[in-house]
Symmetry: C2
Amino acid sequence: MNGMNGHGPDISGFSHAKGQYFLREAFKVIFEETICKSTDVNEKVCDWQDPEQLEQLLDLELRDSGESHDQLLSRVHDVAKYSVKTNHPRFFNQLFSGIDYHALAGRLLTETLNTSQYTYEVAPVFVLMEDVVLTKLRSMVGWLSGDGIFCPGGSISNIFGMNVARYHAFPEVKRQGLWALPRLAVFTSQDSHYSVKKAASFLGIGTDNVFLVKTDQSGSMDPEDLEGKIKLARSQGAVPFYVNATSGTTVRGAFDPLDSIADICEKNGLWMHVDAAWGGSVLFSKKHRHLLKGIERANSVTWNPHKMLSTGLQCSVFLVRDTTNLLQKCHSASATYLFQQDKFYDMSLDTGDKTIQCGRKVDCLKLWLMWKAVGTKGLTERVDKAFALTRYLAEEIEKREGFQLLYKPQFVNTCFWYIPPSLRGKENSADYKDRLSQVAPAIKERMIKQGTMMVGYQPLNGQVNFFRMIVISPHISQRDMDFCLDEIERLGKDL
Amino acid sequence: MNGMNGHGPDISGFSHAKGQYFLREAFKVIFEETICKSTDVNEKVCDWQDPEQLEQLLDLELRDSGESHDQLLSRVHDVAKYSVKTNHPRFFNQLFSGIDYHALAGRLLTETLNTSQYTYEVAPVFVLMEDVVLTKLRSMVGWLSGDGIFCPGGSISNIFGMNVARYHAFPEVKRQGLWALPRLAVFTSQDSHYSVKKAASFLGIGTDNVFLVKTDQSGSMDPEDLEGKIKLARSQGAVPFYVNATSGTTVRGAFDPLDSIADICEKNGLWMHVDAAWGGSVLFSKKHRHLLKGIERANSVTWNPHKMLSTGLQCSVFLVRDTTNLLQKCHSASATYLFQQDKFYDMSLDTGDKTIQCGRKVDCLKLWLMWKAVGTKGLTERVDKAFALTRYLAEEIEKREGFQLLYKPQFVNTCFWYIPPSLRGKENSADYKDRLSQVAPAIKERMIKQGTMMVGYQPLNGQVNFFRMIVISPHISQRDMDFCLDEIERLGKDL
């Protein structure tokens, strides 16, 4: 058999030397296509193809035989060409965008090292680094002690919040399941992220036991209604145990009043989790961190640096204030093949049993390297710049005919309608809302097909489809804000 | 404010040009340290440092101010230097190892594109690619239709199995929670992965409701005992609904008898999940795929290409045979800001609601690009080569004095004791087992401190600490097998 004897020719015809040559050549293509071009404002954000066309262009089928070096390089090129350029200065579509070169270097290093974050044995650097990063993030929350872990995304961090809270209130659940417990009730605002409902169904609590609390005009949770909903749940025989407050709602970027919610949680003996997946990074800003006032009173926090800080997906932390090793107790299974208790080093460094995962990607390095590169000050400047640009955008929207702001932005989400000339002054027509609801999807289709920019839209709480523009990339400017409004007008004025 | 007007100088002092220059320089360091050196048999597998020393060497603290280009490059160098080289030909410590350069190119491309796998809108290439890869993997399982999704690791894939099975049996659980259901029971072998227990506690079922089925001498589930445990659960008033069979157990690499288990599941109306996280890749081998005979009768399968196929972490799939959109029905929350129902393209392409995650890393590209590069044939050769090398290793162990095989390997896990001269012939001494149990940890400490190789050890089912050697890297040879045995002898002969 080939390659069986010594380090000679390898099976499948690729030696280390050939593999390394391919990798260098591939990196050149990647650099040109997904870094140089994708950050160039003169290039397209996306090169739209219908699914059927794209399938033909890509030739995705997996076959018996392998392909040549040149064919593979053209595949790398094509995957890049037809992918959306989230690094592009005109990508405002999601709660992530932009590129941080230091974080990206951290990601490339993570990928080539390819280890798992469970033990000091196989991840010595990253076990220590994760601890330093988590400690620093906790200190920004206002905690001098506590625990935490990096999770694969904010939804899973939020599910951890609910699970740890449940275990804290009823440790017998781990062994006996929910049948040993009374019916539980959780509380979250109607504008909160859908992962709260997903958590409730996944953990066996059920979405019927998620009580949706009203929001006020700005999209923040109404504490009075929270108290009412807690009473309502109790009157139905359910046992409240968990409140999910949101710092930075997904659509409107609203911040729940954490101090008031903390008062209610303390009075009622409830676990307070703050989903700051989106808004957590505001803690970097001295000017704006008041939006999260009271977060230090939470029991746990979700925070996704892959959003506002542009570290790259996935970079989400789950933080807990607890100092009794609750996270480990709740999630551990003490596998003897991995967490041997006769190792020669301090086995508390084998942190992998704090999660429900076994193998776990290293997610701390990209954030750590970026932080080393620009310092806390640099991250603060970026957050402040995003707020300032958003204020500029909102002011421009208010000035421009045909644009209508839904709310004054609290954060870096700007929600607005574009009203084409054909609809202006017709607010009282019976079909106004219907027609307005079709404007954003129509403009979105045109912008994607032309590839000039990307911005999201959605309806919310009876408001018909409106644009939600997200401003975070460290590399954008007022010029990009102006462009977006001009472009929406250009694309939609005939509608 | 800096950088607010036009694309001029950027905040934090780094422009695109500077960032790109850093990235190129960093990639050179990464290439040298984590690719060239880490695959060089003459370099160390790990450069052991005590945690206290390592903390000092790395200077992990995050500060207010950023660092210079040169400082950052030396940080990249140091992170690489002190990390374990899982690409190294002498790394046999985990169920992953080795390097595939095409998969790595796919990972670098994934990182620079930085998108999320939820909608066709932001991940057109990857939505189509994921579907092609899942379809191909399903066809290898033996299914011409079905569904699936990439998950962040095998544990989460296994948790999905249990959750989808629960929803299938009791769809009301999603809304009403477990209180609306009878006490449930799940079944798995005593040698199965600990994620089955983690799943049960996380989903609110409780570990007491996980019935551990006995294994036979080879480590495979005993179907008779499974039937007995099902009866036992029923006699206790619990409702069996889920059997987790394992294809490739973590320690011994055993394969459960899938056909017999399928018979029992069919007879009892139970969901059959196969945790083939480790052994799934054996399906590539015509010669060895009989080990998974009956997998096509499963309802769902976990399979981690990041293990035996060396795609790099994370690459795990959850596959279901169901064709009624069960995965989506079970996990969906229909967020209107993301899964708008008035998009201009086929919205069934927005597959993100099939998972409990929101943002989801792209995990298909690395596998796809590797498969394109070497073809199904190349992957088949690799799997066959790993089996052949394992057979060689086991034969060598049987030949060598002082080495004792625990079981004839079914797969690529080789479990053995090294018995130092001081213990040979003393099998009947009262302290033999105690002393033998200390041999593997002592050798492990020496090998890590010298950095010459890495291999795992653990006790199991009353057998004291033994080595578990995992052979998968496409770049290793008989010479590496010989080295490992020589090295264990060298490190342990004085014990």
